[in-house]
Each structure stands twice: as structure tokens, then as C-alpha cells.
């Protein structure tokens, strides 16, 4: 299977710059990683959702987590900023080391974690407030000093939304289109000046044009931020990500349980052209999932 030629495997077109980009990424990854996951397991009650994940997330790159439904990629993403804490039955073991500190150490305050590691969700979730108040919310609750007007403007500019909304900052955010709402949610995440932005299928509720704008935005943002994105869309992962992790579901018929495992984690280039695992290959060529 692995001997299949490149042509048969390419179901997606990679940007032209990708070879050098992903080549660099592969070399840099281990030296400069933001997260080191060591044997991470997630249980929901007795349900083993994710098993034994060990991986490194490189700084200022886009890492995509892909895989079929139920493979635990969203669950894993929610370990990066302890969002799983909100689910009372969820239990995380192993260590998620962020800049040398284990996020799951007992002394760690989840609120401090989330302040540094922002999140953008599947469905745009603006607060039922004005655009301005949406963006200003994070800086206010985090006590960020500075001119709030400038902060709001900067965040909206960074999210490539300023020109569209500068005349209606006081209007309710629900008046924006879905794509604008999602970019506003990205601006809102940026406004607290995080280190990492996690994106949980950020384009799944958007049309292709709006999705393309978010993808462009991600590519711009990686100059300043580390981005981890979960996506169902393989073309998207191929277009935007530097490194791609492929997850799959392991079904245990005897106990009728489904557990997510990490199959392969490499540069996007390799995952999409020459994966080393036959399951990855089957998935990206559309034979399952």
C-alpha cells in the first residue's frame, strides 16, 4: 500500500509553497514546541474517549487534527485549554505540558490556562451584545490595561474584519453574517492576546467563501500565534496546516466501546502525499470515514 505513487494519493492540491514550508516545520518541531502531550487519556465516566496520545505541537505553526467522527479529536483539543473541566464526567490523565508546565498539575488554575490559550468554536458563538462589547469582554475580565477602543480596533484588524464593521461597532453581533460572526469570534479570542488559538471545526457552519477567508486569516495569524485546528475537511487541513495528525476510532466489539487513537502525525506534505500508515492513506483517499 505504501508503495502507491504520489499521483494516486493526491486527492487535494497543496499550495505551491508547501514543500519548503513543511520541510522546515518538520525540522523545527522538536526544538520549539508549545505543547508536549505525554500519554494523554480522556475518559467520560467509563467511556474511554481518547487513548494514550503523545505528540508535540510546534510553535507558530498550524497543526491540524483530522480523522473520522468520534475519533476524539475535539475531545483532545479541549485538553489543550482544560475546556474538558466543564464536563463533570470527563477525566484526563497523562500530561499536557505547555511551555514546561503540566496543565493538569494540581496547582494550575484553568482560568489562567484559558487566558493564554484561546478557543474558537464550531458554531460562531457571539455574546448577545454589541460587536464592541464582544471584543472588549475578554480584555475587561482579564484586566488588560490600555485604551479599549484601540484594543478592539486592533483585534478586529487582525481578524480582517475591521473594514466591514467599523461603522457598526455598537450594533448587536447577531446582525453579522455567519462568516463575519466567526471572524468576530476569532477577533474576540485575539483580543486577550493569547499565545495559542485552538479552533474546533471553525468553518463547519460556514459556506466555502467564508471558509476561505477564515483559512486566509489563519495563515496570517500563524506569524504571531500557534494554531491547533480540528477539521473534518481534509482539503482544508491540506491547505492550511503545517503539520497534520490523523486520528482514528478503534472499535472494541467485545465491549462495544469506541476509543480514539493517534495513527500518524507528520508534516501535512507527508500525510497527504506519502503517509506511512495504511489507515491514513485509506482515509485521505476517501476510502473510509
Amino acid at each position: 500500500m505504501n508503495q502507491l505513487t504520489e499521483q494516486t494519493l493526491v486527492t487535494v492540491t497543496l499550495p505551491e509553497s508547501s514543500p519548503e514550508r513543511s520541510g522546515d516545520a518538520a525540522n523545527r518541531a522538536d526544538d520549539d514546541s508549545v505543547f508536549s502531550l505525554r500519554g494523554v487519556n480522556v475518559h467520560y465516566g467509563s467511556f474511554h474517549a481518547v487513548r494514550d496520545i503523545t505528540m508535540e505541537i510546534p510553535r507558530r505553526q498550524i497543526t491540524a487534527l483530522i480523522g473520522p467522527s468520534g475519533c476524539g479529536k475535539s475531545t483532545l483539543l479541549r485538553c489543550f485549554n482544560r475546556m474538558n473541566d466543564l464536563i463533570t464526567t470527563a477525566k484526563v490523565s497523562g500530561s499536557v505540558i505547555y511551555n514546561g508546565e503540566n496543565l493538569y498539575d494540581s496547582y494550575v488554575d484553568a482560568v489562567e490556562v484559558r487566558r493564554r490559550i484561546g478557543m474558537v468554536f464550531q458554531k460562531p458563538n457571539p455574546f448577545p451584545k454589541s460587536i464592541y462589547d464582544n471584543i472588549a469582554f475578554g480584555p475587561k475580565v482579564n484586566g488588560i490595561k490600555g485604551n479599549m477602543d484601540d484594543l478592539v480596533e486592533q483585534a478586529l484588524r487582525d481578524a480582517a474584519l475591521w473594514d466591514e464593521v467599523k461603522d457598526k461597532l455598537k450594533q448587536n453581533a447577531y446582525g453579522l453574517s455567519g462568516g463575519q460572526q466567526q471572524r468576530m469570534c476569532i477577533a474576540r479570542a485575539i483580543a486577550v492576546q493569547p499565545d495559542v488559538i485552538l479552533m474546533d471545526e471553525p468553518c463547519s457552519a460556514l459556506d466555502p467563501i467564508a471558509s476561505a477567508r477564515i483559512e486566509d486569516l489563519m495563515t496570517e495569524l500563524k506569524a504571531q500565534y500557534t494554531i491547533v485546528i480540528v477539521t473534518h475537511n481534509m482539503q482544508q487541513a491540506a491547505r492550511v496546516s503545517d503539520r497534520t495528525a490523523f486520528f482514528t476510532v478503534e472499535v472494541d466489539e467485545a465491549r462495544s466501546s469506541r476509543t480514539g487513537i493517534l495513527v500518524e502525525f507528520d508534516t501535512a506534505q507527508r500525510i497527504f502525499t506519502n503517509p506511512s500508515d495504511s489507515r491514513t492513506e485509506a482515509y485521505i483517499t476517501g476510502r473510509f470515514g
Binding site: 487566558r115 484561546g118 468554536f121 448577545p128 469582554f137 479570542a189
Partner: protein
């Protein structure tokens, strides 16, 4: 098996007309249900009609200056309206001071903080509180709240006080406010809480600055329900606020007083023989109609506010 279609058991061709008996039955069900609806409307109209008629009679019988005097003593021809309305407002105010923070606090706790297990235990207890008859609360206000709370805080206070009655009414409306406000807060989508937590907000910030504003229309509805109940509450006030037979105008919550509803009740209670004095008796209709208009306006205002502030998420 051999003779299929022609011998199939079933209705005769003429059965397309249906059974006349069943159709008659269907029509009569319609009539019965319609009359049930009509009767309830008729009753409401009848009540308003009798209120208005008697209230107009009352206004013709008295001098209008009798409506604005030193106090409410119907048998002496003093029908001071402000005594009763200020009394009602004071009771409602005290009740809100008690039930507002407690009810809202309980709602926030149940909706945002309590574990599912805790909520399963607390919610029914709260509903039991809502089921306590008001006469029990009234008696409790008179025999326990007055001596143990009101008289401790205000030493000059006697057995009867508006404060004790107000606290009693407050206890009565805590479950209304808590339960309706909690429903409103629980209806706020999880996505908004996640957005807030994702930005590094704490639970209290999320509750107060995201969930509460998003649920504001429901919370206002909860308060309006509570206020309506407080204004309409009779027995607690009649028992604990004193003022049977009448009350001078007062704004002092430590002393006895009278509300619109308690005035109606105390004059209607057996000993007073309301039929004995026509004007006093008919003043009750007048009070009734004012109370009716007042709560109607309050509900309308609440409705407008709820609709205007309703969030679409």
C-alpha cells in the same frame, strides 16, 4: 387464500358516509369544549361588570375628597387610597428586598453552580416552599418573624408590622423568582458559557456578565410574577400587618398598616358585616377594580419589556 379481494372483511361501500352517531358525537364534543371556553370568558366579564357597576355606585355615593384623607377607615367614611397603595408598595418593597437577592442567588446557584445531583435535591425542596399555604406563612410571620427578626432590628416595633408581613410575603415569592429565573438562565445556550470560559472568565464573571444578561427577559418576567404575587397577597398581610378595621396613613414599616387586598379581606371577614354600611361595602369593589387595573398594567409593562429584551441566540 383462494378468494382474495372480493371476500375481504371490512366496511360496506356505503360506509364512506361514516356513522351519523359518531359525527353527532364529534359535533357535541365541539360544543361542550366551546362552552367551557365561553364560560370562563363570561365569568371574567361578569366579574369586571359587577366590579365596575358597584365601583361607580360607590363613587356616586361619596364625596371624592373622602378618597384622600388621613387614613383608611371605611366605616367612618374615610377611604384614603394612598394609605392602601403605599401599604401595598411597602409590603412589595420589603418582599423584594428579601426575595430578590435570595431568589436570584438561588437561581444562579441552581443553574450555574449546583451539580446535577444537588439540583435534583434542591429543586423539589424549593417547590415545596412554593406549596406552603399563605395562611401558614402569615401565622409564621406573626408569631416568629415579628418577635425574632423585626423586633430585634427595630425595638420600637409591636406585634403587628408591615415589615413582618413584608418578610412573610418575601418568603412566599422566593420560589417563584428562583424557579422562573433559573429556567431562564438554564435556557441560555452552553455555547455562550464556553465562549466566556474560553476567554479566561471565571464562573462568577460568566454567570453575572454573560448568562444573567442573556437571560434578562426571563429574569424580569420572574420579578414581575413575584411582584404581582406580592401585591395580590392577602392573608399574610391580614394576619401579620395588623390594621384590621382600618389604618392611618403611614410609611413606617415597623408599625401596623394596611394594603389594598388586606383591606378588602378585613372588611369582608364575618365580624364586620359588610352589608351593614353600603358605602364601606361598595368601596371594596372600587378597590378591587383599581387593583385589577394596577396588576393588568404591571403585567402589560412586563410583557412589553420581556418582548423588547428577549435575546435571540
Amino acid at each position: 387464500m383462494t378468494q382474495l379481494t372480493p371476500m375481504l372483511p371490512g366496511p360496506e361501500p356505503m360506509s364512506l358516509r361514516g356513522s351519523p352517531r359518531r359525527r353527532r358525537k364529534e359535533r357535541s364534543v365541539h360544543v361542550v369544549l366551546l362552552s367551557a371556553a365561553l364560560i370562563s370568558i363570561l365569568i371574567s366579564v361578569g366579574i369586571v361588570y359587577s366590579l365596575v357597576g358597584n365601583a361607580i355606585d360607590f363613587l356616586q355615593k361619596i364625596d371624592l375628597s373622602q378618597l384622600w384623607t388621613t387614613g383608611y377607615f371605611p366605616r367612618r367614611g374615610l377611604f384614603d387610597l394612598k394609605t392602601l397603595f403605599i401599604g401595598s408598595l411597602l409590603i412589595t418593597g420589603v418582599a423584594l428586598v428579601v426575595a430578590g437577592p435570595i431568589g436570584l442567588g438561588a437561581a444562579i446557584y441552581l443553574s450555574e453552580y449546583a451539580s446535577p445531583r444537588m439540583r435534583r435535591i434542591c429543586k423539589p425542596i424549593l417547590e415545596v416552599l412554593a406549596g406552603i399555604p399563605s395562611v401558614v406563612i402569615g401565622f409564621f410571620a406573626l408569631t416568629w418573624i415579628a418577635p425574632n427578626i423585626v423586633q430585634r432590628i427595630f425595638s420600637q416595633s409591636g406585634t403587628f408590622s408591615l415589615a413582618a408581613a413584608g418578610i412573610g410575603v418575601g418568603i412566599l415569592i422566593i420560589p417563584i423568582i428562583a424557579s422562573v429565573a433559573e429556567d431562564a438562565m438554564r435556557a441560555v445556550p452552553l455555547a455562550l458559557r464556553e465562549a466566556s470560559y474560553g476567554l479566561g472568565a471565571r464562573k462568577i464573571t460568566t454567570s453575572v456578565r454573560v448568562v444573567l444578561p442573556a437571560a434578562v427577559s426571563g429574569i424580569v418576567a420572574a420579578f414581575i410574577l413575584g411582584i404581582s404575587r406580592a401585591i395580590g397577597e392577602t392573608l399574610v398581610v391580614a394576619l401579620a400587618a395588623g390594621g384590621s378595621g382600618g389604618s392611618v396613613f403611614t410609611t413606617d414599616i415597623t408599625g401596623p398598616g394596611q394594603t389594598v387586598t388586606a383591606a378588602i379581606a378585613s372588611l369582608s371577614f364575618g365580624s364586620d358585616q359588610p352589608a351593614g354600611d353600603d358605602a364601606a361595602f361598595q368601596s371594596l369593589y372600587f378597590l378591587g377594580i383599581i387593583l385589577f387595573i394596577f396588576t393588568l398594567l404591571l403585567n402589560l409593562a412586563g410583557d412589553v419589556f420581556v418582548r423588547r429584551t428577549r435575546q435571540h441566540y
